[in-house]
Amino acid sequence: MTASPSRAPSTLLEVHDVRKSYVTNLVSTPVLHGINFSMLRGDFVAIMGQSGSGKSTLMNILGCLDTPTSGNYRLNDREVASLSRAELAVLRNQTIGFVFQSFNLLKRMTIQDNVALPLIYAGVSRGEARKRASEQLAKVGLGEYGQRQPNQLSGGQQQRVAIARALVADPPLILADEPTGNLDTKTSEEIMALLTMLNRERGQSIILVTHEPDIAAYASRLIRLKDGLILFDGPAAEGLHQMRIESSEALV
């Protein structure tokens, strides 16, 4: 998935006035108050925000795991808001690769079968799916681990497997939710180096949800959320600088 250099990168996703409220016991609690942004193919966006900022809700909507209460979400030239559960599943399968904080590999299944699973759901034959899974594992440096079980691998290795699984169906978007939250500093750096390499060398579009400024620094663009609204949207370096100033002011 290399961005063609001959023309300007096209829009991968577009969020227009997305609102989300949760209704419990007839009381409606608004979480997102109208989010607007768009993302180009090949971009690397970090989304930051404190708990309660609506970060997780936005991530679920971007990941097509949930639908907005109102507003429009276009992903890869398709309008998501009106899709059925089954259509959303197909869209996730073809368009988004998920990387989770807790790796979320399936137990009792080999590494190879874990990576092959998105292809199985896409209807690819077992043999072909396993072959492509092995190739993808080799690309993340785990070519020899295909027949192991997830619990036989270290956290960093498991997260690499998860990245291989996210990449195996060649989706336009990788959605990484706190991918380094369960890893030590050194392993975190390795995982972030892998994601950065995918973005730079293969033009892979990535959305990274994190609360750590060090991790957000790997992205090129930063979106900060507060109370269900976008607080900052711009170059990552600028946004992080602004955050440092804010926190030092708070200390004073």
């Binding site: 795991l65 073809q94 399936l106 009792r108 998105p118 759901y121």
Partner: protein
Amino acid sequence: MKFAHVFAEAFRAMLANPLRTMLTMLGIIIGIASVVLMLAIGDGIKKFIDKQLAVLGSNLVLVQSDTRKNVGARLRSGSVQTLTVDDAQQINSLASVGGAAPMLSTFSQIAYGNANSNSQVQGTTPETFKIRNLRMGKGIPLSEVDIASASRVAVLGKKLAEELFYKNDPIGQTIRIDNQSFQVIGVLDNEGQSFDTGDIGQVVLVPISTARVALIRTPTPRSVAYIVAQAKSAEQVNDMVADIEELLRDRHRIRADDADDFRVVNFGEFAKQGEAIGKGLAFALGFIGAVSLVVGGIGIMNIMLVSVTERTREIGIRMAIGAMPSDVLWQFLIEAVAICVVSGVIGIALSMGLAAAVNATGTFELTVGMRAILIATLFSGFVGVFFGFYPARRASKLQPVECLRYE
């Protein structure tokens, strides 16, 4: 492609918790084994009856004396002997009749040396050997000459011969029946239960003429206790019964509005009764089977619901990476069906083992047929679908966001 994968996953899930799976399967195993045994018993009884009829003569009816209904005092059935050897002869010459033998019968003490036994002694004619499939193990059967001359000869049942003579040759030996001497001329080869004599191995057959003069007092010199008649073919049994009734009413001069002084017992009817008993037993087993299948099915539903809850996160992960609700539904449904079908196979194996154990005792033969196996397998699959559907549907309705949040 997808299905092969779903099956592989179902078996992996079953093996993940072997004890729990095994306990869950128990109800279905018992249920299926009961159903298979029910069918085997049904078939077994039918075979048993067919075999009995084949051993002891098929298409037989028994003509018994009956109390005359127009006589003031009613007597016990068979206590009045209205039938005669002439009736037997006339029956024998009917077109639909293959053979007919007059019978007299009593219990007597049989003695040889120090050995003795109480056995049923039957006075009869050579016809009886033919129509009741009696085969000679040793010696010769009764002959017309023996009847005509009222010879003091006897043919012994196999077991009785062994009891009296151990390993010695009984042929030519003299036994005492109610203190009268009889010479043994033959030993039967037949085994099994007969409809009128009980154990055929214990019987003593003597010429009917000899029985009348030496052993059994009869009201008239030609009276007989009953007549056994055989139809020429299975299709002719009912015709034969009608022919015999017509003949005897005529011979006994019974007026049109009077009741018969005899009774024709059709052994085909007995066989039907036997089958009815078999059916009753099979029905009871079928009921037990049905109850344990329902209870087992509920157990499976319960365990599948637990499994869905336990694997909520797994469901979330699968949905996130592209499993459609229908994929999740199939996964859990196939898992429930796989549990049931594996239980069914074990249940069939168990019933085969039990059938083999019953067969080893030699009294009754149970065969687990393809039909039973097919029915059991379909049944277990159906239980899986029926009780697995609700948990599977519940799994498929889960929201991926909630599942991924589930710890």
